[in-house]
């Protein structure tokens, strides 16, 4: 009998793994103390984390919450802990948090921005969670762009209705001509003519920023806006743009820029790929110009230079101007992110769509964009987050975003010299919003992935 032959006579039964490789001990060994070097690093890291946290948590938690001024804060600190070092004075937040949230918006009208925010969530729900929410909510989404400015600035309901009617008109004209290029152009033209009639053109000199009806100028909408308190229902008290501020302003600019830059970015990305030379040249020129210029420059153009080019006496609302600039800025970046997604699609997808007889817009909407946007989700959300944080730059042109407000709060003798607490609060608010966007993008990526492979 050769040594190579072997026959098992008895089968082995299953045994437990050694206790050092499972459970808490196993996990610790595998992840933190797998060898001496890693064990030393683990201990060092824990020490650093402990050092940072003990300082930070001590400052955050052993703090003064009820104080009307920085001096009062300091007195309480000295009375309690014997020194002012290492203690936060959250009194400033307690004292001014409404201002940080709403700026100088009239307190009795706070319900309007709050309502606008709640409606924003309702309007976003069918877009963000299409599989969980009734598609009927999309009507809210469609109405929101017109409802929101009315709630924020007030004035007559006829103003947003008139603007919305322009879009409906453009759609109807475009559809009548079967979605062809001349139909598209005619649709846009008819809407512009309608808006000119509705808003009045050229913009009148005597018009001031009093409500949405007067933001753009005066015309049919203006005359309705001025007489409507008596005869037209749904009149809201107007709030002027100068009184907007705080997170309300950041969210307002951020939401508009995010909401408008995605469709604009898609169009720019498609234009950049177009066979039509002039369309392509315009898109490339626009994207490269905007990307080559700092946002601050564009904001300065919006706040000062634009007046030089507009007819004298024009008063073109500053927040609207900033929104347009931030949107254009975001759209240029968005276009490049989406172009990356388009480049990732094999040409076979275009050919597949073409061979079935889908026209250009159908192919883009049903085949190309769903895939290109899915590839670009991380980049798109990064751009969104970047834009939202960039809204703090408007403090440079004297708009009272949270950072601008922190300066004016410090200008008050009560709170002269307070920095960290304000910035910590502002940072926390931004973090909550940005972290939310980031988590949503991960959720979306996960969801689209499991459906596919």
């Amino acid at each position: 009998m050769s040594d190579a032959s072997f026959v098992r006579t008895e089968m082995l039964s299953e045994q437990d793994p050694p206790p050092t490789s499972v459970g808490v001990i196993g996990w610790l060994r595998a992840n933190l103390f797998s060898n001496w070097w890693n064990a030393i690093l683990t201990v060092l890291c824990l020490a650093v984390i402990w050092y940072v946290l003990s300082g930070l948590l001590g400052w955050t938690l052993r703090s003064v919450w009820n104080a009307g001024s920085l001096n009062e804060c300091r007195e309480i600190m000295i009375a309690t802990w014997g020194s002012t070092h290492g203690h936060a004075c959250w009194g400033v937040i307690g004292d001014r948090w409404l201002q940080l949230l709403f700026g100088f918006y009239p307190p009795e009208l706070y319900y309007r921005p709050i309502l606008a925010l709640l409606l924003l969530f309702v309007a976003l729900a069918p877009v963000l969670f299409a599989d969980k929410v009734s598609p009927r909510l999309l009507y809210v989404t469609a109405a929101y762009p017109f409802l929101m400015p009315w709630l924020m600035w007030g004035g007559s309901i006829w103003m947003p209705i008139g603007v919305a009617a322009g879009f409906v008109l453009a759609y109807l004209v475009g559809r009548k001509l079967d979605g062809s290029v001349p139909g598209l152009v005619l649709g846009i033209l008819s809407a512009i003519i309608w808006w000119m009639l509705w808003l009045g053109f050229p913009i009148q000199a005597e018009v001031f920023n009093t409500g949405l009806g007067e933001i753009l100028g005066a015309g049919l909408g203006k005359s309705l806006a001025t007489i409507s308190p008596d005869i037209a229902p749904f009149w809201l008290e107007t709030v002027i743009s100068r009184n907007f501020g705080g997170f309300m302003l950041s969210v307002l600019i951020g939401v508009v820029a995010i909401g408008c830059s995605l469709p604009l970015g898609i169009l720019l990305a498609l234009g950049r790929q177009s066979n039509m030379l002039i369309v392509k040249a315009i898109c490339v020129g626009f994207i490269e110009f905007i990307r080559g210029v700092p946002l601050i420059t564009l904001l300065f153009v919006a706040s000062t230079l634009l007046n030089i080019f507009l007819p004298p006496g024009t008063n073109f609302d500053i927040i609207l101007r900033v929104m347009i600039m931030v949107t254009l800025f975001a759209a240029a970046y968005m276009a490049e992110v989406i172009r990356g997604g388009l480049a990732g699609l094999p040409t076979g997808q275009y050919e597949g769509a073409d061979s079935l007889g889908l026209n250009y817009w159908q192919a883009q909407r049903l085949i190309i964009m769903p895939q290109a946007l899915k590839i670009s989700i991380p980049g798109i959300v990064s751009t969104f987050i970047g834009i939202f944080k960039d809204t703090t730059l408007v403090s440079i042109i004297a708009l009272l975003d949270p950072l601008g407000l922190s300066n004016s709060i410090r200008a008050d003798t009560d709170w002269n010299g307070i920095y960290w607490e304000l910035f910590a609060f502002i940072a926390l608010m931004f973090f909550i919003a940005c972290f939310g966007m980031s988590r949503y993008s991960m959720y979306l990526e996960r969801k689209l992935k499991t459906e596919n492979d």
């Binding site: 094999p346 076979g348 997808q349 050919e351 597949g352 769509a353 073409d354 061979s355 079935l356 007889g357 889908l358 026209n359 159908q362 049903l366 085949i367 769903p370 895939q371 899915k374 689209l448 459906e451 596919n452 492979d453």
Partner: protein, 267 residues
């Protein structure tokens, strides 16, 4: 030569009575030329395809055979000459192009299914959006054709979950859902594992038996012999030889054809 036929040759009795060629013209190509930049890919192509014809186009790579059938549904644009499909001439008029594309189905080497849609959605998309057929009806049609290609149970899956052969059969079903009058096949089996080629060829044979007008770029000579009523050999962007399959394979006239056939059948 016939004995050394490709080992995936499909052995089944086919019903030739239904495979009648009619006198009506489906595709008429006259004096057609195409260039890629300075490169003259298609030279003076003249081709008339009758309704119900099953034409296999073969030739060495780079001979322009794929480009030729891609010109028929305007995936490639020809520069001179005339292409008339089902009575409509292909010009730069987008309406005409979309009309012809909805009448002409196409299957690609790499299937080109839409990976973000289920099999059923792949099949119903064009009928719903191009033909404006109600969703329910489009789904019934889609299931009918998925049964025909023998994969109705995969309807809710995504293309990425299917094998290559299954994907190509879905691609065929997707084209059929548009009820096309002509089917173009651009090397439908070239990207498939050998054991999957048969299932795709079987589907194509069934289609031929139903009298579909077919133009097929392929190197499956067994398929050509069994199903085609005409084989076209292309080289250097020109039609070098065309004939009935028996005559084409057993008695090729041109030296190039002989060389080509000896190379693909001789191993």
């Amino acid at each position: 030569m016939a004995e050394s036929m490709h080992d995936t040759m499909v052995e089944r009795e086919i019903d030739r009575r239904k495979m009648q060629v009619s006198e009506e013209v489906a595709i008429q190509i006259t004096d057609m030329n195409k260039w890629f930049g300075m490169f003259h890919v298609l030279r003076d192509i003249d081709l008339t395809v009758q309704k119900g014809e099953r034409i296999v186009i073969c030739g060495p790579s780079g001979s322009g055979k794929s480009t030729l059938i891609r010109c028929i549904n305007r995936l490639e644009e020809h520069q001179t000459g005339q292409i008339v499909v089902e009575g409509t001439e292909l010009t730069s008029d987008l309406k005409n192009i979309d009309k012809i594309r909805s009448e002409v189905g196409m299957c690609f080497q790499h299937f080109n299914l839409f990976p973000h849609l289920t099999i059923l959605e792949n099949c119903t998309l064009a009928p719903i959006w191009v033909r404006k057929i109600p969703k329910r009806e489009a789904e019934e049609t889609a299931m009918h054709f998925l049964e025909k290609v023998k994969i109705p149970e995969q309807a809710e899956k995504y293309p990425g979950q299917l094998s290559g052969g299954q994907q190509q059969r879905v691609a065929i079903a997707r084209s059929l859902c548009m009820r096309p009058r002509i089917m173009l096949f651009d090397e439908p089996t070239s990207a498939l594992d050998p054991e999957m080629i048969k299932e795709v060829l079987d589907t194509m044979i069934e289609l031929a038996e139903e009298g579909m007008t077919m133009l097929c770029v392929t190197h499956e000579m067994g398929f050509a012999r069994q199903v085609a009523n005409r084989v076209i050999f292309m080289d250097d962007g020109q039609i070098v030889e065309q004939n009935e399959p028996e005559e084409f394979f057993n008695n090729p006239k041109s030296e190039r054809t002989k060389l080509f056939l000896s190379q693909i059948l001789g191993h």
